[in-house]
Symmetry: C2
Subunit: 381 residues, 2 copies
């Protein structure tokens, strides 16, 4: 067991209709004004936008709005939010949407209390020391952003998709109502499943030390994500499966799975960020392209875990059988497993590798993952 600090102070309010209390929750936490952040309008097609406004008004919370957050969220929109939060001296930020909205409100929360450029934190030029309190109401389960301090944002001009991590932007409170996720299209359900699996699987394979208990938790997460995804593909209104999927996805990246492990890294996320940045591929779709290719390239470095994975998750013998089964499952649920399926030309590999390798420098992965290595991995896709 590696030494660790575990601290996750986010309160989760899980269940039907909980979003209607969001004003009350913010009030009880001691805040009187928020920046309300959302995406490109889907919350206005449902009653969620109206319910949120009503809840804030009833609780006496004043608010400003920032809409237009897109998937693979942009720094420019984050900066728009920071400007409003500063000008109006807002006390908190509330994101209503999916992972991109949650990621954006965290960046806004940090930037609102910083005089310089918030991108400084993403390039590790500045250290996060304070942030406005963050609240979220989730409409998509995938990133676990509702219960962690991670935020991924892309700088528009340079196509750098970089991340930050601080418990200061762990949401104070997040609402997970599975009903709000019932309208997620099937392709995004598939991408979400891939993302949740990816979050738990990276440390599982790359850690130099990984206690059995952690392995069991990861395998439980993967099996439950696969099981509930298959139910939801056939029956999108299945509340039980939708709820279990959402809560399992939260567990996949809230600090539980790596606690006590040593040496784990996130090379698949590093490579995928380049796919999203340069080709605007959905994050989960990019991951399902990268993961099987990476597994084929990496398996010899940790054969026992690949054999264990095959056995525990698919009841199959041998590393290759497990890799093939996962790849087939990604394909079966409708997520791409080749660059071609994701609409990325072979000719793009060089730029992808260079973009990913730049991020690798920040993540301490530049020795193992040179542009040549990343190119070789992507050739397998």
């Amino acid at each position: 067991m590696n030494d660790f600090s575990y601290y996750n102070p986010t309160k989760i309010e899980f269940g039907r209709g909980k979003e209607k209390n969001i004003g009350k929750y913010i009030k009880e936490a001691g805040y009187e004004s928020v920046l309300l952040v959302y995406g490109t309008g889907s919350i206005k097609k449902s009653s969620l936008y109206d319910d949120t406004i009503t809840s804030l008004q009833e609780a006496g919370i004043s608010f400003e709005e920032l809409d237009g957050v897109v998937s693979n969220p942009l720094l420019s929109r984050v900066n728009d939010g920071i400007k409003i939060a500063k000008e109006k001296k807002l006390q908190a930020v509330l994101g209503v949407g999916g992972g991109s909205v949650a990621d954006s409100v965290k960046a806004i929360a940090i930037g609102a209390l910083y005089e310089g450029d918030v991108w400084d934190f993403f390039t590790q030029k500045a250290e996060i020391k304070q942030a406005l309190p963050v609240f979220t109401v989730m409409t998509l389960a995938a990133t676990a952003s509702e219960m962690n301090g991670n935020s991924v944002v892309m700088k528009d001009e340079t196509k750098q998709k970089y991340s930050i991590q601080s418990v200061l932007v762990n949401p104070v409170l997040s609402v997970i109502n599975p009903e709000l996720m019932a309208s997620v299209p099937k392709d995004y359900l598939a991408y979400s499943a891939v993302d949740a699996i990816a979050h738990s699987i990276e440390v599982y394979f790359t850690a130099s030390s990984h206690p059995n208990f952690n392995s069991r938790i990861v395998e439980s997460i993967i099996k439950s994500i696969m099981e509930t995804t298959e139910i939801l593909i056939k029956d999108p209104d299945n509340y039980e499966a939708r709820g279990e999927f959402a809560w399992v996805a939260t567990q996949a990246l809230n600090g539980l799975t790596p606690a006590g492990t040593a040496g784990g890294t996130f090379p698949n996320h590093m490579i995928e960020h380049a796919l999203s940045a340069l080709y605007n591929v959905a994050h989960g779709a990019g991951l399902s392209v990268v993961i099987p290719a990476w597994m084929k390239w990496y398996k010899e470095k940790n054969l026992p875990m690949f054999e264990r994975f095959a056995k525990e998750v698919f009841n199959l013998e041998g590393a290759d059988a497990g890799i093939n089964a996962l790849e087939s499952w990604f394909e079966k649920i409708g997520s791409p497993v080749t660059l071609e399926q994701a609409g990325i030309p072979q000719a793009g590999i060089k730029d992808l590798a260079e973009n990913a390798a730049e991020l690798g420098k920040l993540w301490g992965l530049s020795e193992a993952y040179t542009p040549e290595v990343i190119s070789a991995i992507l050739q397998k896709a």
Copy 2:
């Protein structure tokens, strides 16, 4: 999925030597004085007492001491602690020891800010609205008290072993250093294993709704506790196993396993509290007596889960096979599985049943668990 609120703001500092920072941790949290609570002297046989005092002094934390907390902790000693905390206007409480010490500091933390009798909270005559901040350094892994808001205390005169639960007494911070647990005797290791299994197993069998993911987590906990216990019996200094055991025991009662389940209850704990109260049996030893008897009595009410338990934990077919395997395992590690082995006479069953049934009234179990039913269960032990 049942609606739920999940909130566990306890910070865990896990690893070698972390207890030497306890003064710093308390200082960083903003407190300058504590009541230091410990047991009957084992921390003075090791260097833990001296290390704690040194750490507090170096951080400039003033302190008073309360020693003499026994297993199955007593209300009288809690009241002694409350008196000191009030008189000296201490800002926080620090428990250094096992579950009984952790439970005692929580009761002291609540009583120190209450004008009436702290027992009012245990009998549900008063509602917990405030408490001093709690810190713990654990020397035994079993109760998960280091990461929950539970406290169990026994009223000396009436032999009522009752409990409270409030997030207000979730420790602000707990230190788990597996090295501090290496000297735990083998019988207490066994009792601790039983306790951790008991914490996760009760809701697993009694819930009216139990998502597959929760079942997988419970099975992971049980398998990892069994696996690490067997290693530690042979090799008490195995740091990896000691650490994994400790962290898994924490997960067994920190809110993770029941989240999203419905209708779960704790009848084995209810009955066991009577054994501990009337015969001063160690909590885990009492549980290993009660659980197999309860399982034999209860199995027909939820046969699918008993069959699943047999399959997933022991790779055996049929409810009875699973129950027998668990009972045999308790015996193998040296924990009693009959009243006789625990030194409790058959003639004591009537009083035990009445004591437990009284607690059942507070826990909403009085209809299902009349004194007659509890007697029938204990007859099987």
